[in-house]
Subunit: 589 residues, 2 copies
Amino acid sequence: MYRTNTCGELNMHNTGQDVILCGWVQKSRDLGGMTFVDLRDRYGITQLVFNMETNKEICEKARKLGREFVVQAIGKVRERSNKNLKMSTGDIEIEVNELNILNRSEIPPFTIEEETDGGEELRMKYRYLDLRRTTVKNNILLRHKVSQEVRKYMDSIGFIEVETPILIKSTPEGARDFVVPSRMQPGTFYALPQSPQTLKQLLMVAGFDKYFQIVKCFRDEDLRADRQPEFSQIDCEMSFVERDDILNTFEGLARYLFKQIKGIEFKEPFLRISYCEAMEFYGTDKPDLRFGMRFTDLSGSVKGHNFAVFDTSEYIGGICSENCSEYTRKQIDELTEFVKRPQIGAKGLIYLRYNVDGTLKSSVDKFYSQEDLKKWADIMNAKPGDLILVLAGDKKKTLTALSELRLEMGNRLGLRTKDKFFPLWIVDFPLLEWDEELKRFYAMHHPFTSPVPEDLPLMTTDPGKVRANAYDLVINGVEIGGGSIRIHDAAVQKSMFKVLGFSDEEANEQFGFLLNAFKFGAPPHGGIAFGFDRLVAMFGGQDSIRDFIAFPKNNSGRDVMLDTPSQISNKQLDELQLIIGGKNKKKLL
Amino acid sequence: MYRTNTCGELNMHNTGQDVILCGWVQKSRDLGGMTFVDLRDRYGITQLVFNMETNKEICEKARKLGREFVVQAIGKVRERSNKNLKMSTGDIEIEVNELNILNRSEIPPFTIEEETDGGEELRMKYRYLDLRRTTVKNNILLRHKVSQEVRKYMDSIGFIEVETPILIKSTPEGARDFVVPSRMQPGTFYALPQSPQTLKQLLMVAGFDKYFQIVKCFRDEDLRADRQPEFSQIDCEMSFVERDDILNTFEGLARYLFKQIKGIEFKEPFLRISYCEAMEFYGTDKPDLRFGMRFTDLSGSVKGHNFAVFDTSEYIGGICSENCSEYTRKQIDELTEFVKRPQIGAKGLIYLRYNVDGTLKSSVDKFYSQEDLKKWADIMNAKPGDLILVLAGDKKKTLTALSELRLEMGNRLGLRTKDKFFPLWIVDFPLLEWDEELKRFYAMHHPFTSPVPEDLPLMTTDPGKVRANAYDLVINGVEIGGGSIRIHDAAVQKSMFKVLGFSDEEANEQFGFLLNAFKFGAPPHGGIAFGFDRLVAMFGGQDSIRDFIAFPKNNSGRDVMLDTPSQISNKQLDELQLIIGGKNKKKLL
């Protein structure tokens, strides 16, 4: 062993001990007679001290150490005269009597500090240096901790982790697959799983009863910001359960994780609201409930005053921002600009100040009397000092715009703090989505999602109205997990395929193995999957998942450190009997 | 919830309770007045009883249940009159008063019993039914348990699990890569990792200090029996360590697993023997030390008696089988046939019986006197009652043949029992292997394996003699894990590439990102990887890994259940700008 201790553990109890430490040179300060070196490893930083008077030779050696040199220091622990209270090792230092350079380092291309001067691209190229930074390192340590706790909890409640294969079969439904050419059977391909959905259902058919897996999934999609072509999920499935069994089980997991990771205990059961309610009151199926500002539908209350915008609108909705009646003209203008941005698309913003003195002032005073405005305020449960913001127009678009406005107000009012968490379940999603272009229904979740039992008759009469027995776990406006009760009945599955416009043949070609399996005694079952990267990022208090993945890819799906994807040899192409077409055309030898 | 209890937990303490069970019909017996149904779930089997007299309707329903129907049974626990001591639930049965068929089943293509009548191919096609069999199910449960324990232990000693990417870069060195065409950058490819070797080394450069991962690895090789194109390993790496630190750490893991999984505690430290010793005494680098029969080299002791076979042999070696002196002529002939099989390739077998009465009888009596033979016996430490078996010829081939003979004798004498375990470390492997055809050296482990420090000078003078700082964990003749101390010094790495015949350019092209990383302060480090499938199979007492993998592939790399690899659509090919060549030629649209 190169060391007796780590750089994060020595303190006053160790003074007088002879120790050996190893690590990287974080920085060194040469104060003439004395040289101080901060030595860093995974566990912390310990100060090394070298004295020109007592040991000239070694002190001179220390002076020549560059940043990020790897060294072994042998010496004695002693109390510092100048203590650093911010560090766990800040009470002591090591008086070094032997210094060995284990490896040298070129000057790193960016600073290895909490805040670095390195840009995104540079950090990714030298990810192994970026990972030395405390913030990034701690994210990866957090990820380990969360995965350990997930497994501990799932095991404790009888779930078993089963590894499902990575080389599976391509199915055209859903997102685009990554494929893997087979050399043994040229012209054929494996696909990488977008999720182990069908495999976990087969495990239920196999009787495994309670399955989970922290598993890599793959999607070959044009990458939106903060999407990764490979990502991890906590994938779960249970048999002989109904919706509430699943919600209760995984609410248990979420509570356990919040307790273990954040020290937070939720007293109340997680709120459960329907998709319709979520859309109606928050304009989104991922509402951030760290704060209120529920929408009030004013459509039935404010028309008929010759204000054309309202009179011609399908929907008029408002939010009430407490204690904002004194917003300046400039602030209101900013909000107006905000909702008029093309990505939000509202035509304008109507405000109503409920002044502290009880008077009311709105941008539509021309059309509404004080009494009329008072009525609005009452409907909205506003009180003096509040500011009411109203949007109007096409219902769907207006709900979405109002949702963005609500979040913006949440941000402005500091109501979306990273240390507050509000988990809730969204239930009763629509089963199907209508594709106007292709004139067909799509499964909103996937084609194995069960309808809500009481909606079954609608499958033939009004499929668009059928609710899915599906659910999402939403925390702070982010979808952390989602799942459904699956169809285990062959007749229901058949009617589902029919609604989706799959012929028996197509259904068989794509899902034959699953449909076949279901003939041999499929139990009632359902499951859920959590975005693991997202979950960890949430616990880490960050929006981006990238720094919670050790070696992420960039927005073009490239690993700039490994420099991949890259060309392969002609020999490899020949073995696979593949020819590259297009403008990169390469001939088969 | 569909049930109150599982089929594996009810006993005499529960009599009189009203319960609801769910599961699959294992079998049913119709005894006229009474019908018995064995209901099975993951946890066990519980007997349901239906009485024609007390409840005719439900009894008739039960009589119509087919094998593997999924049912829900509501009833009361009562003591059985005819107890089954072999089952944990054998004291009780359920008097059913409500029976719901949750799903029907076609007649399964093979019996769902411990021993099935289904052949390999059929079992694989209907793997979800095969997994219902107790033996296979228990293997998968065991796998879960081992993975949990590995993680628990590694976490407890400060290792962190880091997920490394699956979409990485193809490197021509080593086995053949599976590749993944990139759609965003047509003509380029990702590769699936054969192991996260370079990535875990980068994590050490990043300062992660102690890393592990249970991770999928991929090799596109023509499959030997019991190899899988995707397999799992426990991948580990540590910094600031020397060889013995690694061996001690992972001996700790092995001991912990044996204790937790098998209840076995090893008193002695694991034996550590060199590669040379292993070859010399057991003819293999994976010796099965559940039994002795070490080789004795007779080359220096038995020549010069006009027995041409010996006199012209490079090597003469023998094993001593205790208490086998009374082996019959027929048994000896069988052994002779065994060693003469082409895959073993010995020319013949010489035996020497040390009879109980002290006399000696050999197949070469013509050339050796009783005194000569007594001398053999003494060299071999044989005692009256033992049988000495000797092979002679070219050294390398004879050692291998003798190794096979030793294992065969171990089998015949019942010395290779599944409940005995003998773990040992093999150390000091050769660093390089000479390829006679290509006239070049190959890295026996991989090109980052460090030479044993004292052999460094030989790198330039006699590279073939250099020992690697590498090690294998061998248990019962199977290589369970292997690893090495890595090169962290740029100069040593350079000389290694030189010996392997890599130009600077080639080295840079293939491993540039690693060599570049090493410029920024690589710590001394080393690691190990365990074959996870193999490890679990060993704990499960089986030689084949296939039934310890939920959804394995067959020897042609096919998943016959999913029916993959398979064709993909022209649209997919077009998006990837790929053309299929060879006899399966497909044109780009």
